[in-house]
Structures are given as C-alpha cells and as structure tokens.
C-alpha cells in the first residue's frame, strides 16, 4: 500500500498493485499448502510435544464438527457443548499415546462423541418425564416456526433415546452425519453387514416411535 502511494508518481499503480497482490497470493497459497499438508494426527503429535499452536489449530479444525454431531443427536445446545468439551478433553489426554496409523483422529472422535451422546440419551430415557413443549411467547411466524423446528429436533432426539444404543449410533452416523457404511463400520468397530442391519432396524424403530407424535409435530395434514 505504502509502496504504491510513494511510487505512484513514478510507477504505474497497476504494476505496483499487481506485484503486491501476486506476492500476497503467493504467501497465502504457501500458508494454505502448509495447512493442507498437515494431518490431524500430525497436529496431535505436535501438541503432545508441547506445541500450543497445534492445540489451537486442532480446536479450530475439529470442534465445529464435534459440536455439530452432538447438537444433531441431542437437540440441546448446552448438553452438546458439554459433550464437545468432554470429547476434546479426551483427545488432549490421549495425545501423548497417539500412534500414527492406528485410526484417523476424525474416526476416533466420531466414536467418542457418539458414545458420549448415547450416554446422555440413556440418562434422558430413564428420567424422561414427558417434557411439555413450551408454548411460544410470541405469535410471530418466525418464532412459531423456530419453536416448531426445535420441537421436531427434540422429538427426533428423544426417539433416538428410545432405541438400543448401537442402533441409535448407527442411525445417527448414517442419517445425521452422512457417513458411508464402511466408515460407520470403522467408527463402531463392526462389520459393514452389521452396520446395514443396525441402520435398517434402527430407522424402522425410529419411524415407529415417532409415528405417535405425528400430529403434535405438525405432520397431520400431509
């Protein structure tokens, strides 16, 4: 910027701007290349060796997905944040013992988050007291729509809580996270055939549980 201003009388500004942009772009590409080349496992090893920046990079890279998985399964922001924090704590703890090549960090995290969420769902199932959906305080369409969406997501999460834990995990990984059957098999450490069976039975059971709440969730006029 300064160079362009200072040299504006003598050098065509276009040349200065072009040159600086080229340099900035080159630097940016170098940074991106460096970041792309570093795997989660590499960052985890660097963290275990005391690299604080690696912890920040891993958090920025993994926390959004971890939180999203928990939110989709639990439909509760506070509970999901607790699960996400606990999953990351477990990641920090395992870092010194992490062996490259064992598993992908993302696969390991899918498993940890799924287990933590089904733990929460189990507790919810035992203490489920027919939570009444709060009436909207405001009648504006946005608020009503938001409340209905939240009620539907909570109903789905409560229905997951009614399923056997392995079924709930398989269904969530397949239909909420969009993982393929072989990926789910790795996460759950079972065969692909078992995954197919669990997801099929789980989805059927989920539909049966939710069938009774059709009107309540606003699907009665379909």
């Amino acid at each position: 910027m300064n160079a362009a201003v200072i040299g504006g009388d003598f050098l065509p500004p276009v040349i200065c701007t072009f040159g600086m942009r080229a340099i900035a772009k080159q630097q940016m590409n170098t940074k991106l290349d460096q970041l792309v080349g570093v795997s989660d496992a590499d960052l985890l090893v660097a963290f275990a060796e005391g690299n604080a920046q690696a912890a920040r990079d891993l958090t920025a890279r993994l926390l959004p997905r971890v939180l999203a998985q928990a939110v989709r399964m639990l439909a509760n922001q506070a509970e999901a944040e607790d699960v996400a924090q606990e999953a990351m704590i477990r990641l920090w703890k395992i870092a010194p013992d992490w062996r490259k090549g064992d598993a992908l960090v993302s696969t390991w995290l899918y498993r940890v988050v799924a287990n933590l969420c089904t733990d929460r769902l189990r507790k919810r199932r035992t203490s489920m007291s027919l939570d009444q959906i709060a009436e909207p305080q405001d009648d504006t369409p946005d608020v009503v729509a938001r409340m209905q969406t939240q009620a539907r997501l909570r109903a789905l999460s409560d229905a997951l809580a009614q399923l056997p834990e392995r079924q709930a995990q398989a269904v969530a990984l397949r239909h909420l996270e969009g993982l393929s059957n072989p990926e789910i098999a790795q996460v759950m450490d079972i065969s692909v055939r078992s995954v197919e069976s669990l997801t099929a039975r789980g989805k059927r059971a989920l539909a049966d549980v939710l069938a009774g709440r059709k009107a309540e969730l606003g699907y009665d006029d379909d």
């Binding site: 963290f47 912890a55 958090t59 959004p64 870092a95 789905l156």
Partner: protein
C-alpha cells in the same frame, strides 16, 4: 407408495442435518484452556505450593531482608561485639568473671557485682 411415517422421518432427519452450529467464543476458550498446558508438563504444578507462600511473606524484597537478618544474627552469635556482651551482662545482672576484658577497662569485678 411411500409410507407417510417414512416421509416424516426423512424430513426430521434432513432438518437435523441442517443444524451446523458455530462454537461460541466461550466454548473455544474452555477447550483451549483444557488443552494448555499440555498434560505431559503437569508435574510443574508442584511449584504451586511454594509460590503462594512466597507471595504471602512479600516476595523477593522480603526474602532478601529475611536472609540479611538471619546472617546478621548468625554473625552476632559467632563473634559478638564487646558492647553486646556488656549489654547482656547488664540486663542479666550477673557478674562477668571470664577474663576476656583487659585491665584497662574502667570497671572491675566489684563494679559489676550486685548491680
């Protein structure tokens, strides 16, 4: 013909998939705090017992004063000046019978006895 219950379930699952929350700054801070310092440096925390105690007595300036006072006391015990011994004798009211004082001093045994 599709089952209406399946349609509802597919709709609910699609709704859930659309949820993509962004971690709050507070959550990011909590996670980073959990990570740092790294677990393998945990033994350094043993200093935490000493540091507060050190702060209570006033830090380095006070510690320096304590060391100077201790050394001065030690020196007085090893090689006490004559005036200190004189003062001690006056305070205790006991006669000094050891022959460490020379005859040129302005007092003798009689002068010190019985105050």
């Amino acid at each position: 013909m599709t089952d209406p219950n399946d349609d509802m379930l597919d709709d609910l699952l699609a709704e859930a998939r659309r949820q993509a929350p962004t971690p709050s700054d507070a959550l990011l801070a909590r996670v980073i705090d959990d990570a740092l310092p790294p677990p393998h440096k945990a033994p350094r925390q043993t200093w935490d017992f000493i540091t507060p105690l050190f702060d209570v007595i006033g830090g380095w300036p006070s510690a320096g004063g304590l060391v100077a006072a201790t050394l001065a006391g030690l020196w007085l015990g090893i090689a006490p000046p004559a005036a200190v011994q004189d003062l001690a004798a006056s305070a205790l009211g006991t006669p000094v019978t050891v022959g460490i004082f020379s005859d040129e001093l302005a007092f003798d045994m009689g002068g010190l006895a019985d105050g």
